[in-house]
């Protein structure tokens, strides 16, 4: 409910507006070329053709082969498919039935990773074990910690590329090198257990080149609606020879890895969005990084008792996450919304649970700090003027809320 006619969107990590160029590319595939990409007639073949062009664009960008690109309904499905698909395939495989399968992830992953892992642990406790790696106060996974926990039966390491809440960029390349070394050792020691490296790169494509060969990634998740594409479509890149089984059974689409009629307009949109992300990356990084520096410095200089959450060095250009002492995130969010400014919070009060952000707790913040956090995420349509307006409003909102909470102390 906004009393302001001004609209400032600073929640690009939640979702992005669809780029006009993307929407235009999609439009013909609703009412004109609406064929099912599996149909043999001309309607179907036209759809198949555009699906394959999108596949080529994405395969090229990820440095993968076309048949390694699996279209899904989004990052949640891609991440679920990674974890459950690898588990399903390996747990029934005669070579790997003697030991429990060991999975590794970090404590700051998106809930779709953490909850999929927990689901396996709960449902198949005799077949699987999971290690949740701690992170440091900046949100970084430690390579030595990771090396220490990799065992002979470790089959999957899943570490996100960019954390969605605090923007920390994980050392994916270094982790990839470590995984490669271990794979070579396994080969020499005749350990037949595969070791797959997956990264949820949902927040990454606008700002980072995702060359899976360079990064030694076996699986990668991307999503259209975080890169100015439509909602409801994503990709799981799966290197060939990865032992993985479909979790959604049916018509055997997507190289028998994901059944379900292809979302043709969505896939066209994703292809276009990914192409634009590649093309505009350099310019975007420069522009958004400058805005980020400007915004962080301005908040620090204008508002007292604030703390930047996350890393200064290993941080994606578009994320700014602050805790404002003496306030609660949801209250700040609601008051900013009344001024037309859209942000996000790490406070539980915006969700149905009482626990605040698991990410902020994992980097050692107190419950109180976590509850007082606000995430601002920028994008290619953000402007300096919008940020000036935001800091101006934010300053008086924080003052007002601190006046209301004055005198109460934990």
């Amino acid at each position: 409910m906004s009393k302001s006619s001004k609209k400032v969107y600073l929640d690009y990590a939640a979702t992005t507006p669809v780029d006009k160029e993307v929407m235009e590319a999609m439009l013909p595939f609703f009412c004109i070329n609406y064929g099912n990409a599996s149909s043999l007639h001309s309607f179907g073949q036209k759809s198949k053709e555009v699906v394959e062009s999108s596949r080529t664009v994405i395969a090229k960008g990820l440095n993968m082969e076309n048949r390694e690109i699996i279209f899904t309904s989004g990052a949640t499905e891609s991440n679920n498919l990674t974890i459950k698909g690898i588990f399903n395939a390996l747990s029934r495989h005669p070579n790997f039935s003697t030991k429990k399968l060991h999975f590794i992830t970090s404590k700051i992953e998106h809930p779709c990773i953490l909850d999929s892992m927990k689901y396996l642990e709960k449902t198949f406790k005799d077949l699987v074990e999971v290690t949740y790696l701690d992170v440091d106060e900046e949100g970084l996974v430690d390579l030595k910690d990771l090396e220490r926990v990799i065992q002979k039966n470790t089959v999957l390491v899943s570490i996100m590329f960019v954390n969605n809440e605090i923007g920390t960029t994980e050392p994916i390349k270094k982790i990839g090198q470590l995984i490669k070394t271990i794979k070579n050792q396994r080969f020499k020691s005749h350990n037949k257990y595969p070791l797959y490296f997956h990264s949820d790169a949902t927040q990454a494509p606008s700002y980072y080149k995702l060359d899976t060969k360079d990064l030694n990634l076996d699986l990668i998740t991307i999503n259209a609606h975080k890169i100015y594409g439509p909602k409801g479509v994503g990709v799981l890149g799966v290197k060939k020879n990865t032992i993985i089984e479909e979790t959604s059974h049916g018509g055997g689409h997507e190289f028998k890895k994901r059944s379900g009629t292809l979302n043709v307009p969505g896939i066209v949109g994703l292809g276009k969005a990914f192409e634009l992300a590649e093309k505009q990356r350099k310019e975007n990084v420069k522009k958004v990084r400058q805005l980020q520096d400007y915004f962080i410095n301005k908040i620090k200089s204008q508002i007292k008792d604030v703390g930047l959450n996350g890393s200064t060095k290993h941080r994606t250009p578009n994320n700014i996450n602050f805790s404002f002492e003496g306030t609660e995130g949801e209250s700040v969010l609601l008051m900013l919304d009344q001024e037309g400014i859209a942000v996000s919070t790490g406070s539980a009060c915006s969700s149905n649970s009482l626990e605040p952000s698991h990410v902020l707790l994992a980097i050692g913040k107190t419950h109180l700090q976590a509850h007082s956090s606000i995430r601002f995420t920028l994008g290619k349509f953000s402007t300096k003027k919008q940020l000036d307006y935001t800091v101006d409003k934010l300053k008086s909102i924080i003052e007002k809320l601190r006046k209301i909470s004055k005198g109460v102390k934990f």
């Binding site: 609660e328 009060c349 969700s351 009482l354 419950h367 209301i404 909470s405």
Partner: protein, 125 residues
């Protein structure tokens, strides 16, 4: 998510602030859920009844925590202590035209803080 009335009390909280030398004060909350409230009361005896003459609150918390604090002070002001003690979390939620289910614990806190303030008053007597 919130009713108009909640947003009104959140945006323009009634009786916000501190009473110097209060007759009773009550503080409740916990850092895990992130809400903390303090209620101050001033009591006046009139026609053999003890009335809440003035009441103020300070709250660190979400929209619902601030709105319920504000509403409790409005409901309690001018009531005798017995009536004030009987204000329930449902009363507060109803007066605010409803609260999201997950937020009901916040209104609970507001009435708890008031009860604590009244108790504090009795214990000092």
């Amino acid at each position: 998510m919130y009713s108009k009335k909640v947003m009104d009390h959140f945006t323009n909280p009634r009786n916000m602030g501190e009473i110097k030398n209060p007759d009773g004060e009550g503080e409740v909350g916990n850092p895990v859920c992130g809400d903390l409230m303090k209620i101050y009361i001033k009591v006046e005896s009139k026609d053999k009844q003890e009335m809440i003459k003035d009441i103020k609150f300070q709250t660190l918390g979400c929209g619902s925590a601030i709105a319920t604090s504000s509403m409790v002070t409005e409901l309690a002001k001018g009531k005798n202590l017995k009536e004030a003690q009987e204000i329930s979390r449902d009363d507060v939620a109803n007066e605010l035209e409803g609260l999201p289910p997950a937020k009901m614990h916040c209104s609970n806190l507001a009435t708890d803080a008031l009860k604590k303030a009244i108790k504090d008053y009795y214990s000092k007597k």
